[in-house]
């Protein structure tokens, strides 16, 4: 009885155990909300589960099936295209905007607030707005171009495979730019102005200042921001779901939407899980890539910069 009591007290007060107790809530959270769903998803991908039936273990059958499936191949292709093209544009435009917003200019605060708008508006809402912009009949873009006399008939934005692909990429870029612009702007504002004064006296042109001072000093933050951006884009769902729902004919299907459509709407939970599990290696690769890119550069090591 006393031994039991003593052990309990030790568990309560011992430093190592104390650490464990402090970790417990966070660990429970992680287990419950991250590890369990992920594990369940992976498990389901090895079964023939359907809605209403728990399913049996069928090994790699789901994977064999989706790999041979042209729809899956298209989804993988488009997910990669979507991620690469949209991220590249978001980076270029975001960096350009950040540099622009970092200049002294009138109405700076207002312009900065305006830039944030696409980020603030709920994705579904902006997707609906784009849906109108890309409407086959009432598209404001078609209307303007017609008024300018550049085109004769309406553009079929979302009805043609490649038009639809570029349109959703455009919408994704529009939505993703503010995050990158504002993050990079925050990074730019940490750079000491005296570095630019020194560079001016050293004879650097504006381009050289960007190339040899701004860009290298910004790389750590670019790596972080772009990692997030790539992950968000790769796993995008809402925009496609609302704008095209993967159509026409699956040409804008992303792996995320395909997984949902297969598992929930098509009720083939096993296959859908296999599709979403197939995203994991891509995401891991992206994370590994940025992990090495994110490693502290040599000039960041060492004691503090007082």
């Amino acid at each position: 009885m006393t031994g039991e009591h003593g052990r309990w007290r030790r568990l309560r007060t011992n430093r190592d155990w104390l650490g464990f107790w402090f970790m417990l809530p966070a660990a429970a959270f992680l287990l419950l909300f991250l590890v369990y769903p992920l594990g369940l998803g992976i498990w389901l991908s090895f079964t023939d589960a359907r809605i209403g039936s728990p399913g049996n273990w069928i090994g790699l059958e789901n994977y064999e099936w989706i790999i041979g499936d042209a729809k899956f191949q298209t989804a993988v292709f488009f997910t990669l295209l979507y991620t690469l093209v949209a991220s590249a544009f978001k980076f270029a435009i975001g960096l350009y905007l950040a540099l622009l917003l970092n200049q002294a200019m009138p109405f700076k605060a207002i312009i900065r607030a305006v830039v944030l708008i696409p980020f603030i508006v709920p994705t579904v809402l902006s997707a609906i707005a784009f849906w109108w912009i890309f409407d086959p009949q009432f598209s404001v873009i078609s209307w303007s171009l017609k008024k300018l006399g550049w085109i004769q008939g309406n553009i079929n934005f979302l009805g043609d495979a490649w038009n639809a692909r570029w349109s959703v990429i455009f919408a994704n870029v529009w939505r993703g730019v503010p995050f990158i612009a504002i993050s990079l702007l925050a990074g730019l504002q940490t750079l000491p102005p005296s570095l630019y004064e020194a560079a001016t006296l050293d004879g650097a042109t504006r381009w050289q200042m960007f190339r040899y001072v701004t860009y290298p000093l910004l790389t750590p933050i670019i790596a972080v921001v772009m990692t997030f951006s790539v992950l968000f884009t790769f796993t995008d769902f809402q925009l496609i779901k609302v704008l095209t729902n993967g159509g026409p004919a699956g040409s804008t299907e992303l792996m995320a939407t395909m997984s949902y459509n297969t598992a929930i709407l098509g009720s083939r939970i096993g296959e859908g899980s296999a599709v979403s599990t197939a995203m994991v290696p891509f995401l891991l690769a992206a994370i590994m890539f940025s992990w090495f890119g994110l490693q502290r550069r040599k000039w960041q090591h060492g004691e503090s910069n007082d």
């Binding site: 570095l195 001016t200 050289q208 000039w299």
Partner: protein, 350 residues
């Protein structure tokens, strides 16, 4: 190399003018120190010479050329910043060679110039390090190296030693002075520390509230300060100022104490004056005026005495050692040839 000439230079930020018409002529090869309390416009003036701030009015010449409209990089000047402004992502060598690389010089030439500068500054072992891996003093040297490598017409320094600890500051002071003697490049050096100014300068420009108070060689400023501001700013501990009245053959302090001093012809009788005496020019003497000891601070090499003369605090410094006790009365006498007189209203030297 070239001299620098400022003629009626003014600077306004918006509607506030912070530099009100400054005239300074710095000769070729001269070491000129701009000194003054914080906020008096020294950095602004230096940055106008560098071209980092535009000139609101007046004219700046480097050599024979008016540079008002000349881009900073065309002015052929190099600047050392207070926070050094080293590029954190470049090695010491790259930092020092950056300006040459931008000019498109060959790798071999850059390496040679960087090596020479590094040897002068004792930086040779650190060329491949990053600024973060250096001590404050080493970073300071890299900043100077970056300036030297370019072999400019004029060096500009903006409080380069104020981030260093006291001991290193003294050492770097000597080093910068030596460097100047070796390179003989015209130098404009900004500091708020009058000791730095006194020890390093060929010529000191004392500034106050955007105006030049006095220009001269260090000892000139010390011996003949043009006004009360310069008198109080140069010298440490600061000069004592005592309101007084010329009273026949002697000076009566407003507190009623009479001090016998040979009166210069220019002082008419009964005139109100401010008597200025440096602490080191007071001596203990039987015929001096009476003062009550308040605090005494022996530093080893000298003894500082804080005393009260009829209600007013004064400071005296003695090279020899004295045993005083607080409350004790001593008799102090100003050295006759070392008294300064200032007009009470204008503060100008009489």
């Amino acid at each position: 190399m070239a001299g620098v000439t400022l003629r009626q230079v003014r600077k306004s930020f918006g509607s506030t003018e912070v530099v009100h018409g400054v005239d300074v002529a710095i000769a070729d090869g001269e070491f000129c120190v701009l000194v003054g309390p914080s906020g008096c416009g020294k950095s602004t003036l230096l940055r106008m010479i560098a071209g980092l701030e535009n000139i609101s009015a007046g004219e700046i010449r480097i050599g024979d050329r008016i540079v008002n409209q000349v881009h900073p990089k065309e002015r052929d000047i190099a600047m050392v910043f207070q926070n050094y402004a080293l590029y954190p992502h470049m090695t010491v060598a790259a930092n020092m060679g950056f300006s040459l690389a931008l000019r498109g010089e060959t790798k071999a030439l850059i390496a040679a110039r960087v090596r020479t500068a590094a040897e002068i500054l004792g930086l040779a072992p650190y060329l491949e390090r990053y600024p973060r891996q250096l001590s404050g003093g080493q970073r300071q040297r890299v900043a100077m190296g970056r300036a030297i490598v370019r072999n400019p017409q004029v060096f500009l320094f903006d409080e380069p030693l104020s981030n260093l600890d006291a001991k290193l500051r003294v050492a770097m002071r000597t080093e910068i002075k030596e460097l100047h003697q070796r390179l003989k490049t015209t130098t404009v050096y900004v500091t708020h520390d009058q000791i730095e100014a006194m020890t390093m300068a060929d010529k000191i420009v004392v500034m106050h509230d955007g105006l030049v108070e006095q220009i001269g060689a260090p000892l000139e400023l010390y011996d003949r300060p043009a006004n009360r501001f310069v008198a109080g700013f140069i010298g440490s501990p600061a000069m004592n100022f005592l309101p007084a009245r010329v009273n026949g053959g002697c000076i009566s302090l407003s507190s009623g104490v009479d001090i016998s001093l040979p009166i210069k012809a220019k002082l008419e009788a009964n005139r109100e004056v401010i008597l200025g005496i440096r602490p080191e020019h007071l001596e203990i003497a039987a015929d001096g005026f009476a003062a009550e000891v308040v605090v005494i601070e022996p530093t080893g090499s000298e003894t500082q005495l804080f005393a009260r003369v009829g209600g007013q605090e004064i400071v005296a410094v003695f090279r020899e050692r004295h045993e005083f006790a607080p409350g004790q009365h001593v008799r102090l006498r100003p050295r006759a040839d070392c008294a300064h007189f200032f007009d009470p209203s204008s503060g100008q030297r009489i």
